[in-house]
């Protein structure tokens, strides 16, 4: 009986400890959600294909804390993005801003698509006009001769 009680107590303690460890994240779920959402937009420069939300590199942890502190201090998402770009450049943004130096990046694919469509259209138009062309007298005669010649002889 005593042993069972001790076990129960130990179990309760264990749960108690767990609850305590989980506390910081639940402290302010709204803030944490904003931190995660903004962190997912920012590239971790140490491990370049991860966002600072995914990465556990020391710098990513620092930058996440930076995001959390600044949000807590009442700064807006846009202000924090500016803060990061001032220090690390456009490269920290997974979705680069639309400006002169990123024009080719944003418009390049659309330009290529447009050029491709124009070329395709011109090609199809040319083919259609070639198909519609009437045969001349000489061509009719030549076609008849070829067909006739094919019909007269036995295939080898």
């Amino acid at each position: 009986m005593a042993r069972a009680l001790v076990m129960l107590l130990a179990l309760c303690l264990a749960f108690g400890v767990q609850a305590k460890e989980a506390a910081p994240a639940a402290e302010d779920p709204v803030l944490e959600a904003r931190v995660s959402a903004l962190s997912a937009e920012l590239r971790c420069l140490v491990c370049q294909n991860q966002s600072i939300a995914e990465s556990n590199a020391a710098l990513a942890v620092d930058l996440r804390n930076q995001v959390r502190e600044q949000l807590r201090a009442g700064r807006s998402e846009a202000q924090i993005v500016d803060y990061m770009v001032e220090r690390y450049g456009d490269f920290v943004l997974f979705r680069p801003r639309f400006k002169a130096s990123t024009l080719a990046l944003w418009l390049g694919p659309m330009l290529l698509l447009a050029v491709g469509l124009v070329l395709l259209y011109r090609r199809l138009a040319r083919r259609r006009s070639a198909d519609e062309g009437e045969l001349s007298e000489a061509e009719h005669a030549r076609a008849a001769r070829l067909l006739g010649a094919g019909g007269d002889k036995e295939p080898r």
């Binding site: 370049q48 020391a58 001032e86 690390y88 450049g89």
Partner: protein
């Protein structure tokens, strides 16, 4: 004979596109994706005031260097590439054309002092950035990093990763000479 009946020019178009693509991709392979252009070039070096590593009661601020061309080198005792560049940073300091200030980044001060004692201390002084907050202001994301700052406190050059004899001879030293001439 029209060009349509000649197969050559039509074949050359895809071939040309292919060659251009290969050249573009080839150049891309030789670039280092870690060397992100810093937005800080041409901007004022962010202000800070940090305790000095060897004299924690004294502080260092970039404004202390006003009127001088100087070098800020971010280093840490836990960073192997810092040791790799250490002889070249020492060579730069020994030229005595520009003081080299260390920014000891997220390091234990005892470890940092021990590292300097063991390998030599080329720095005029090192400032202690325990939490890496100043590192964030300077856009540091890989130690070591090296900044050349002019007389007016403007960052003129940034090297990410270890300084090599090549960058020292071709970039840093000529730039310092040029800035010193005014």
């Amino acid at each position: 004979m029209t060009s349509n009946t000649l197969p050559m020019p039509r074949l050359l178009v895809p071939l040309g596109i292919f060659v251009v693509l290969v050249i573009l991709l080839g150049v891309g392979l030789t670039l280092n994706p870690r060397e992100v252009p810093s937005p800080l070039i041409g901007k004022r070096a962010p202000a800070f005031s940090l305790p000095q590593l060897r004299a924690p009661e004294k502080s260092f601020s970039p404004s202390d260097m006003a009127g001088k061309v100087w070098v800020l080198n971010v280093w840490a005792s836990w960073c192997p590439p810092c040791l790799e560049e250490h002889p070249h940073i020492t060579a730069l300091a020994e030229k005595k054309i520009a003081p080299v200030v260390g920014l000891n980044y997220k390091d234990e001060p005892q470890d940092a002092v021990r590292w300097l004692t063991r390998h030599g201390d080329p720095y005029l002084l090192s400032a202690t950035d325990l939490k890496g907050q100043i590192g964030i202001d300077y856009g540091v994301y890989g130690v070591p990093e090296t900044y050349v700052i002019d007389q007016r406190g403007i960052i003129r050059y940034k090297k990410i990763g270890p300084v090599t004899p090549d960058t020292l001879q071709k970039k840093i030293l000529p730039l310092i000479e040029e800035l010193r001439r005014g």
